[in-house]
Symmetry: C2
Subunit: 370 residues, 2 copies
Amino acid sequence: VQSQRVSSRRWAALIAATSGVALAVSTGAQAQALKDVQTADKPLVLKAQGSFFVGGETVEQTAGELGDLGPSGHITVNQMYVRYMVPQGGDGNVPVVMVHGATLTGKSWETTPDGRIGWDEYFVRRGHPVYVPDQVGRGRSGFNQAAFNNARTGTAPATGLARWIRFSDEVVWPNFRFGSKPGEPYADSQFPVAAVDELSKQGVPDVSFGGLPNPNPTFKALSDLATQLNGAVLMGHSQGGPFPLAAALLNPGVAKGLVLVEPGRCPADYTDAQIKTLAAIPILVLFGDHRDTPTGIGIRPSWQLSFEGCQKLIDRLTAAGGQAEMLDPAARGIKGNSHMIMQDKNHLQIADLILKWIDERVVKRAAGKK
Amino acid sequence: VQSQRVSSRRWAALIAATSGVALAVSTGAQAQALKDVQTADKPLVLKAQGSFFVGGETVEQTAGELGDLGPSGHITVNQMYVRYMVPQGGDGNVPVVMVHGATLTGKSWETTPDGRIGWDEYFVRRGHPVYVPDQVGRGRSGFNQAAFNNARTGTAPATGLARWIRFSDEVVWPNFRFGSKPGEPYADSQFPVAAVDELSKQGVPDVSFGGLPNPNPTFKALSDLATQLNGAVLMGHSQGGPFPLAAALLNPGVAKGLVLVEPGRCPADYTDAQIKTLAAIPILVLFGDHRDTPTGIGIRPSWQLSFEGCQKLIDRLTAAGGQAEMLDPAARGIKGNSHMIMQDKNHLQIADLILKWIDERVVKRAAGKK
C-alpha cells in the first residue's frame, strides 16, 4: 500500500535546478508550516465565528456497517459542515459562501500553502460574512462508511465499492497549471511553488465521483444555506465550480450572485427554462492562465475546454437577457495565474476583482443604483 | 446500505414524553442549526487566525490506489490539519491545543450543538491562543485511501480492510451518559439533549482502531506542534484523551500542562522512567457524572472503569513526586455532566475550572510564583 518514502525536498531542489531561481528550501516531508504563517498588521474584529451543519438524513445501519462497536442503529449521513466568520459591523452585508474543489476541503480558502491570509479572512476584512463548507463526503462533513465495512465483512462484494481519488503531486503540476511538468514552474507562475508540499497536505480522498447520492446532497445544502442566510453570493471552485449553478436552480431567489472559480465544467444541457432562471442572477466565471496545458488525466485534456464550455454558457445566458461575465485576468495583462488562483501570489489582486464585481453587480444592483 | 429514514423529531418527542419537560422542537432530519447559533455581546478581536498542517509523509501509490484518475505517483498522507485563533494581546500567553475524540473532529470544540460558544472561542476570549487539530485519519487531515481502492480493484482482499466506526444515535445516549436509555435523559443531565440531532451530525467515520500506522501519527504531530509553539497545554478528549500523555513523552519540555478530558483510558503500563518524566508535568484529569452508566458497547463497560484507571495513574504520579490531579465536578456538587462535557449546558463553568488550573499550575508555576 505504502511504498518508497520520498523526501519532498526534491521539489525544491528540482525547482531551484530548473528555474534558476533561489527559493526558500522547505524542511522536507516533515515540513512544519506554522513557522511560515504570516500575521496581519491589524487585528481581525469579528462579530461572530463558529460552525454548524446544514442538511443530513438519518439512516439505519447494521452493526457491521457501523464497524461492530455496538448493535445496529441510526446515524446521520450527508450533512454539510460549515465554518463561518462575521465581521464586526458587517452583518448587514451580503454573505459569501466558498465551496472547494475535488480532493480538497474548505482548507482551500484558508491560510495559503506559504502562510499568507486566505480568501476567507480577506473577504471578512472587506466586510462580508464568509461561510466555508466541506462538501458532503469530505472533511468534517464525513461520508457514509457502510459500503466499505460491508466489503470488509463480506456482506457485499468489494467490486461494488466507490473509488476514492487523490491527485498525485506529479499530476498536480500540469493539472493545476503550475507548469507543464512536475518541478518546472512557468516563468510567470503565480503559484507559490516553493510551498507546493503544503498544498499536497491539503489533499484528502474524494468519493464524490460515484460514491454519493445523486444529485449530490451538497447542491441542496448550499441552497438551504443561502436560504438560511436570506441570500448569499455562492462561490465554487473546480469540481465545486458549477455547484452554485445547481444550488441556484433549487431556489433562485436566494442566489444573489454566483462566482464560478475555475469550474471543471459549465453544463451544456440546461433547458431554456433553466437558462431563463439563471439569466436573472449575476454570474461571474473566473479562469487563470496557461489553460492549454495538457493535464495528463483522462477526465479533462485541458482547462481551455472548460473555459470554452463556460463561454458558451455565458453566451447562452447573454442571449436570454442575462448578465453573466467571463473574468480572464490574463486577457487584462495579469499573467501566470494557476488553477489554485485563491492561493496564488497575487490572490488579493484577484479577490479585489471579484469584490468589485460583487459590489457593482450584486450590491449596487440590489440597491437599485444601477 | 441505507435503509429506513427516520424523522429525528422522534428524539424531541421521546424526550418531551419521558422527561415531562417542554423542549424546543427541532425541525427534523433536515434540521438547520444556523437559526440556533447565538452571537456574543462583545466582538472577538483576533491578532491572527488561520490553519496549517503538521507532519505528513510522502508515499508512492499505484494508479489504482489513487483512484485511476491518472498514472502512479506520490501523495502526502498522515499529515495533521490544525486551525488556530490568537487573541489580540494574548500571543504571549500559553497556547492550548484541543484534540477531539473517536468518530469526531475538531468540530467538538466549536459552536455547541445548540448554538452556544465553543471552548475554542471561550479560551481565546480568556486570553489563550487556541489550536484545534483534526486527528490524522479524520476530517481535514484526510486518510490513506490506498487499501480501499485496492480492495475495489481486487489487488488486495477486502477482508484485510480496516473497519470504520460510527457510534449510533442509540449508543450515544448511554455511552456519552446523557441517560441510561436513548431518549431518556437523566433529570440533571447537563447535555443539551434537545439538540442531540446536531451532535449526530458531528460524527464521521473513524479508522483509527486498526487503520493507522502504529504509533498513531497524531502523537508525533501533537508533540511537534507543541515544539513549534515553544510550549503548549495539550488537551485531549475521550479516545484522544490520553494523546497528551503520549505526546509529552516524545518531548516533555514543550508539554507545559496536560488536560485529559474524559479520557477513554489512562495507560497502566508506563515504566518508572516514563512516570518520572510525566511527574514533572502538571496534569489534570476531568470526568463528568453518571459514570456507572452501562455503555452497551464492548470496548468499555462503563466510564467508571476509565475514571478508576486514571486515578491509579494519578496515584502513581503522585508517589513519584508528581502533581497530577483529578477534577471531579460531581464530587464538588456540580452534577449531571456528560461525556461531551465541553458541550454541556454548564460548559463555561467547567472551562473556568480548567482555566483556573492552567493559571495556577502552569502559568504561575512557570513564573515561579508558586
